[in-house]
């Protein structure tokens, strides 16, 4: 399964994974883009390492909004998270989310960080990572 570092600004990286289950302790503090759905189990994986933000595939949202429930739960814990649309990026392929994904869902911390839906994920995160050092100072 794919894993790559696509961008690094200062100490913060954007790491692309096919599955959130590939998350490692070293990923702490970084921004994760993965091809997983944003359901409850995927949200739980993201809680296992203190990452800065994580982006999933919305899996068509589906029954009871199951495709984004994990993202909402991360939001309640103050973690920035969102999803790209399942018609914009192939589920299971992190690089397709990175290259082609369009944001369809954002949790409250993501909206507070001034991310917006209907935008392409890649330029959104490139702008976001540039803003981060200023926000931290």
């Amino acid at each position: 399964m794919h894993r790559s570092v696509e961008v690094a600004v200062g100490d913060i990286k954007i790491i692309v994974l096919d599955s959130i289950s590939q998350l490692q302790p070293d990923d702490a503090g970084h921004i994760i883009v993965c091809g997983s759905h944003g359901g409850t189990s995927a949200g739980r994986y993201a809680l296992s390492v203190p990452i800065r933000a994580v982006f999933y595939n919305d899996a068509g949202i589906g029954k009871d909004r199951a495709g984004v429930l994990g993202i909402e739960e991360l939001g309640r814990r103050g973690i920035i998270s969102g999803a790209v649309g399942h018609n914009s990026a192939k589920i299971g392929l992190g690089m397709d989310s990175w290259n082609s994904g369009t944001l369809t869902f954002l949790n409250q911390p993501a909206r507070d960080a001034e991310l917006t839906i209907a935008q392409s994920l890649r330029p959104t995160l490139l702008a976001f990572i540039q803003r981060l050092p200023l926000e931290q100072n």
Binding site: H37, G62, K63, L69, K90
Partner: protein, 135 residues
């Protein structure tokens, strides 16, 4: 629940799990209902084990039908597999996929075992498990 035996007979077990990543070697030979998306990575993970039949969530099919790509991948590996629709069952909820899922796609191997698009998964599995077996 992350991983539950939902049906067990003398000859067969049916195990529902919220993600294929929860599969254990002891699950080999069982019918696996994993509420992961049915994408390629899920298929690759499933092929590392020896489930008898796999069922996933179709994640709305999506771009290039990525949500059901595991089915053709597993077909090439001679493994039966199908998906339930994302509107019938919650992705990431194995029990809901088992109890409420409607089959939205099956590969040829699964079709040969009697699984059909449109079937309720729980009924199709019950019929399969009750089926006389000569293998």
């Amino acid at each position: 629940m992350d991983r539950t035996i939902v049906l067990e007979t003398d000859q067969m077990r049916v195990i529902a799990m919220d993600s294929i990543s929860y599969m254990q070697p002891e699950d080999n030979g069982a019918v696996i209902v994993a509420a992961s998306n049915g994408g390629a990575a899920t298929g690759e993970h499933a092929a590392r084990f020896s489930g008898l039949v796999y069922f996933f969530n179709d994640a709305g099919f999506g771009k290039d039908n990525a949500g059901v790509e595991a089915l053709s991948f597993l077909e090439k590996a001679a493994i039966a597999a199908g998906t339930v629709s994302h509107d019938s069952a919650r992705i990431s909820d194995g029990i809901d996929c088992y109890e409420s899922g409607l089959l939205s796609a099956v590969n040829d191997r699964a079709a040969a075992l009697g699984f059909r698009r449109g079937d309720r998964l729980i009924e199709a599995i019950s019929a399969f498990v009750g089926m006389p077996r000569d293998q």
